[in-house]
Amino acid sequence: MRNVVVTGGSRGLGLGIVRRLLAAGYRTIAIARKESNPLSLVMEAANRERPGSARFVAFDLAEIGEIARLVKALRHDVGEIYGLVNNAAVGFDGVLALMPTSQIEQLVRVNTLSPIVLTKYVVRTMMADGGGRIVNVASIIGFTGYSGLSVYGATKASMLGFTRSLAREVGRMGVNVNAVAPGFVDTEMTQGLADEQRQQIARRSALRRLPDVEDVANAVEFLLGDNARSITGTVLTVDAGNTA
């Protein structure tokens, strides 16, 4: 069974990704600060069918200094890590001119610094084990603008740059690195969005609707799978044509 680590696997897109990957036969290790009820249910069902296939590790990814130890423990407990999905992020919005610096720092820490450091430790083990897959969850906000999301947008754009250069760096070691850029999906992160805004986004999308969690999870599964073996350094946009 291939091990895939999914950060932020307790809710929203991460939970959908965990569910999809379990169905596809992977062994998943979800990381978040706390386990959620929906994740517990998904894990229970998976472990009944395939014992040991779903795990949860409680960890605060803002604790950069602890990440090396986290990866060491994961390696020890589950063995080779085949896939890493950098999905956890925070989505504070607000006009830059009024945003507390501590909040700016938190966004950059959780959304950019943390996945980069986590990848540093995981990619080494992938190279030593002969290969692997990394999928970074970015956002269409990384290449289009949205008022109130300048810092969030900066962190998501950073993941796109990271994806491209790292793909070049580790390609010859058999590690593929790609990004998925979702459009607006209904999750806790986007709860602040008014119904009217949501409808406007749908109206402006080619398919006249929003993508859902399963659409994004399918894209991640594809990039982890054997059928994507020749794909690296790319961004797969899943936005129902919002930026088309």
Binding site: A68, K72, R75, V170
Partner: protein, 80 residues
């Protein structure tokens, strides 16, 4: 196995696996002249972490050593 023997073993194994020609190993050998490039050295560090349970380069202030002798010393010191 001593730290030194383990390190030499990993240099040899990674070189073989990555199809690199390894220079004769000595304490004075400059790592970048060893035949292993920096990605290969990263693999050596990852494997040594598996074998020895330590990664002396995790700490923020640790600079990467220049020669093989320095490299071995960093691991021997971390072991103490």
């Amino acid at each position: 196995m001593s730290v030194k023997v383990e390190i030499v073993t990993q240099f040899e194994e990674v070189a073989k696996q990555q199809e690199k020609t390894l220079a004769p190993l000595s304490d004075e050998l400059v790592l970048l002249d060893s035949g292993l490039d920096s990605l290969c050295l990263a693999i050596v560090v990852a494997r040594l972490e598996d074998k020895l349970g330590i990664d002396p380069f995790t700490a923020d202030d640790a600079e990467f050593p220049v020669t093989l002798g320095d490299f071995i010393r960093v691991y021997e010191d971390a072991r103490r």
